[in-house]
């Protein structure tokens, strides 16, 4: 082989190694994002397990808040639907449904403030405390997931990542955004301080 042949061959090897390294990096980042998504699901599971207990405690006192409780039950069922982790659209839908539960849950606790008996109930206080704890863990899981998604999406969207991702079928993943309703809710110091 002549010298220019060696040169082209060498360049091709370098390009192939770089492409593979980029591809391996993307796969690693996708796996990390999926792992972080599982972390969110673990925390969501805790939140969902808590909801029936809260509704059971609140149901005895909050006769006039039936609509609120029904809405929460529906949102919980929707968020608990099985989804495809490999499909970004399905993940986005799942995360949006999960995010919608938080303002409904906060509404229930806010409404409970109007019922003195419920407000002073030990069970309700314990549920509120557990909810705050779960929300703390969920916020941490959300930050972890968003950090991994940011890293994955950057590697996919920056050239030549977009070409490699298209060939390998790796897609950008959605961020887990706080629901608009939750962001607009009035801030209560008690929600943030244990």
């Amino acid at each position: 082989m002549n010298p220019s042949g060696w040169l082209w061959g060498g360049a091709l090897v370098v390009v192939l190694i770089s492409v593979y390294a980029w591809y391996a990096g993307m796969v690693r980042k996708r796996n990390k994002a999926l792992q972080a998504l599982s972390g969110i699901d673990i925390q969501l599971r805790k939140r969902f397990d808590l909801i029936p207990n809260v509704l059971k405690i609140a149901g005895r006192f909050m006769e006039h808040e039936r609509d609120l409780m029904k809405e929460l039950t529906e949102l919980r069922s929707r968020a608990m639907e099985v989804y495809d982790k490999g499909d970004p659209g399905s993940v986005e839908k799942h995360l949006a449904a999960a995010a919608a539960v938080q303002p409904a849950m906060t509404n229930i606790f806010a409404a409970a403030e109007s019922y003195p008996e419920l407000r002073s109930s030990d069970n309700m206080l314990a549920a509120q405390h557990t909810y705050t704890e779960v929300e703390g863990h969920l916020a941490a899981a959300r930050r972890t997931y968003n950090a991994t998604v940011e890293s994955l999406n950057s590697s996919i969207q920056i050239f030549p990542g977009n070409l490699i991702a298209a060939l390998a079928g790796i897609k950008v993943m959605p961020f887990y955004e706080e629901s608009v309703g939750a962001a607009k809710l009035p801030v209560s110091a008690g929600d943030y301080l244990g």
């Binding site: 705050t132 929300e135 703390g136 916020a139 941490a140 950090a147 943030y192």
Partner: protein, 333 residues
């Protein structure tokens, strides 16, 4: 206490409310009692030193006069003084050493009394020589470098603003050189704090001082877990985080808590503040240059209010950590 004798302490601090009265009623009388011991010790040390010098001088004079021992003092071929010179030097040193030992003994006693009294005001317990059994957690968390010899002193423990704590001063040294050129150098001197933390956690999260890419890498690989990049750019500029569980690390290091850690690091200036969440405790290492909680030397008057002012200032570091990090409040965001 007259206006002129007032302590120079930060009276805006709620922790120091009533300290002036406590100083006047408890500490000042105790220091006055110690002052008479100081006078006696200083006189005794001065006498011992003088007698030592006079005895040595008379001994040399008479030996030289009657036994002509001058040549034993003269330098040999190698230019070093004769053996009699060294015997005399050792003799003088032993007298002076005895005097210094007496003063050091008093210094230790004064320091112990003073720290005990000031600790009692804050409701803390004090141990002058605590041993190194408390060092294990900090060593396991790698907040202190590896060492061959450890010395700890001035351990305080108790509860401040509902937060259990332990604090002690630590000196670590490591052996250097080979068999023939063996030595020892100090590798760490600092204050080590251990606090109860209001959140439950099971893994380990270490917050290290950012020291540039290369040093971070060299220091970081020793820590268990992975490097966790956090969202706060100010925090990331000061620190880098290693942890066994990234979700737990973010649960502990909330955006608000990160702001507080940065605030604390900036308040402590250039000192290399480092933290670790481990075994349900928050461990903090603050390297220092000057020996802490010493209470001054024995050549100045033991009643000097400066001694108390310095100790009180040294205690405020503890209060600053608890208050700035708000360790008594469980932050969710």
């Amino acid at each position: 206490m007259s206006v002129h004798e007032q302590l120079e302490i930060d009276r805006s601090r709620p922790e120091l409310a009533g300290f002036d009265d406590y100083y006047a009623n408890r500490i000042s009388p105790r220091l006055a009692a110690l002052a008479s011991e100081q006078r006696k010790a200083r006189t005794w040390a001065a006498w011992i030193s003088s007698i030592g010098l006079v005895v040595t001088a008379v001994l040399i004079w008479s030996l030289r006069r009657h036994y002509h021992v001058g040549k034993w003092f003269e330098p040999g071929d190698d230019g070093r003084p004769g053996w009699a010179f060294w015997v005399t030097a050792a003799f003088v040193a032993s007298w002076l050493g005895t005097a210094i030992w007496k003063l050091m003994e008093l210094k230790s006693s004064v320091k112990g009394s003073l720290l005990k009294e000031v600790s009692a005001f804050f409701g803390f317990e004090y141990e002058q020589r605590p041993g190194s059994h408390n060092l294990g957690e900090f060593s396991a968390a790698r907040l202190v470098p590896s060492y061959d010899r450890a010395r700890t002193e001035d351990r305080f423990s108790g509860c401040h603003a509902g937060v259990d704590f332990e604090l002690f001063e630590c000196f670590l040294s490591a052996e250097t050189g080979s068999d023939e050129d063996r030595g020892s150098k100090q590798v760490y001197h600092g204050l080590l704090f251990s606090f109860s933390f209001p959140k439950a956690f099971s893994g380990q999260t270490v917050v290290l001082k950012d020291q540039g890419r290369m040093l971070n890498f060299l220091k970081g690989w020793k820590h268990s877990g992975e490097r966790i990049k956090l969202e706060d750019p100010r925090f990331e500029k000061h620190f880098e985080v290693w942890g066994t569980d990234p979700i737990e690390a973010r649960y502990l290091l909330t955006p608000t808590f990160m702001e507080r850690v940065v605030e604390l690091a900036e308040a402590f200036g250039s000192s290399k503040l480092e933290l670790c969440f481990r075994n349900k405790r928050l461990l903090i290492s603050v390297p220092v240059v000057r020996n802490q909680f010493e209470g001054g030397g024995m050549l100045t008057d033991v009643r000097s209010k400066k001694r108390v002012e310095i100790i009180v200032r040294e205690f405020t570091r503890l209060f600053d950590i608890v208050n700035t990090l708000k360790l008594n409040i469980r932050t969710v965001v």
